[in-house]
Symmetry: C2
Subunit: 215 residues, 2 copies
DNA sequence: AAGTGTGAACCTCTTCACAGCA
DNA sequence: TGCTGTGAAGAGGTTCACACTT
């Protein structure tokens, strides 16, 4: 199998959410060009992405929303469910706990950790919190395979090491550092500082852009 | 000029922070392969990126850290400073205000907005907050050119429209929707849901990967 | 010997364009 | 006619490999 890329997975996840929205609006079918305009891509790209998961539409009605949602879910999600652990219950950690609380049945944050005694042994947005000292054993016990790092830069590498030790297979990292980890662990960085600096750069450039050149 | 890409800007921003760290550790020079290993890239890529901003190292000593930091700052930052406005003072918004508070002299969040009366007309992590009703006028008055969207999905498009109206040139969007905006406004999406779903997907795949094939 | 700067090869992702179908 | 599926072309990004410098 041709091993689907990072970028395609990201877009498939986006399509999935767009489709839920369209379904809620009462639509039953959708064309590639409609998904394209909602996702800021091209129609050809949408078709290719959907091809990748093996679903097919028909020229007459495009894609059947219910079927496509099911194909996407089967492809992206683990039917048995997957568990994540979050470390660092500051503002950011809490925001993420609140956001995912009970939202995705097949992907839940089932444990949170912190060093601050005031933040542990509580239930925060539906998630139990523990002292970091217990992290490795709890991750192992619960069979958690995803880690979410919301601690300051200085502690991130150490936390990541423990996660690796505990057997986590993927990490979502909010700390503004590049983690050094064995490469059988997938790391996705969400670096707010870099993102903001990119916006600042292009906000200055964009005014003098002239990207037309229509051919 | 060859117009530097999105990706390169992101890496330059990362190098900048790595260099500050190395400098703090007392180093004065650095080689491309060192930056490469810290940034999870290749040495050739580091050299190309640095070429793009017109700085040159020497074979003998690699890059001079102080000089390279200066070149990067001159390139990435506006010497006159840039201002950002944040909308949505929930957990996420507060986390971001806390994070950037007084950190970057040339890029500061100078106004925050919310609909909740309990959150406005206060000072949060050093940033004044206002009712959203006043957003357009305050953005114009203060000459803010960057917007940060931390509101729920349902309100994001509307907020973005107001920002566009107010003259913002770049938007950092945390809401899990693709904003529809005139394309002279640069938009950077930080989509936590997609990111987590990617990690979940690859956490399941990574175990069966075998990416060696050393040639 | 060990780095940098860089043309050229390579590879990945995106778009084009069209056959085939309802 | 208007859509999907897809081979082929095109862009864009990354790595190779080597001349050049110290």
């Amino acid at each position: 199998m041709p091993s689907i890329s990072d970028k395609v997975i990201g877009r498939l996840s986006l399509y999935q959410r767009l489709l839920y929205r369209l379904k809620a609006e009462g639509m039953t079918n959708v064309y590639s060009h409609q998904l394209a305009s909602l996702s800021r891509g091209s129609a050809a790209q949408v078709r290719r992405d959907i091809m990748a998961i093996g679903y097919s539409g028909t020229p007459a009605h495009g894609y059947v929303i219910d079927e496509l949602i099911k194909s996407l879910s089967d492809f992206l999600e683990n039917p048995a469910g997957q568990k994540a652990a979050l470390v660092g219950i500051g503002n950011l950690g809490r925001a993420i706990l609140a956001y995912f609380s009970g939202r995705r049945p097949r992907l839940s944050i089932t444990a949170a950790f912190d060093t601050d005694p005031n933040r542990v042994n509580r239930v925060i947005h539906g998630c139990r919190s523990y002292p970091v000292e217990n992290m490795v054993e709890i991750i192992r016990e619960k069979g958690i395979d995803i880690g979410i790092i919301c601690v300051p830069a200085g502690q991130a590498q150490q936390v990541a090491n423990s996660m690796g030790l505990a057997g986590v297979k993927g990490i979502l990292n909010f700390a503004p550092v590049r983690l050094q980890l064995p490469d059988d662990i997938y790391v996705e960085d969400l670096d707010v500082t870099t993102a903001l600096q990119k916006v600042a750069y292009f906000a200055r450039r964009e005014s003098t852009k002239n990207k037309e050149v229509k051919k």
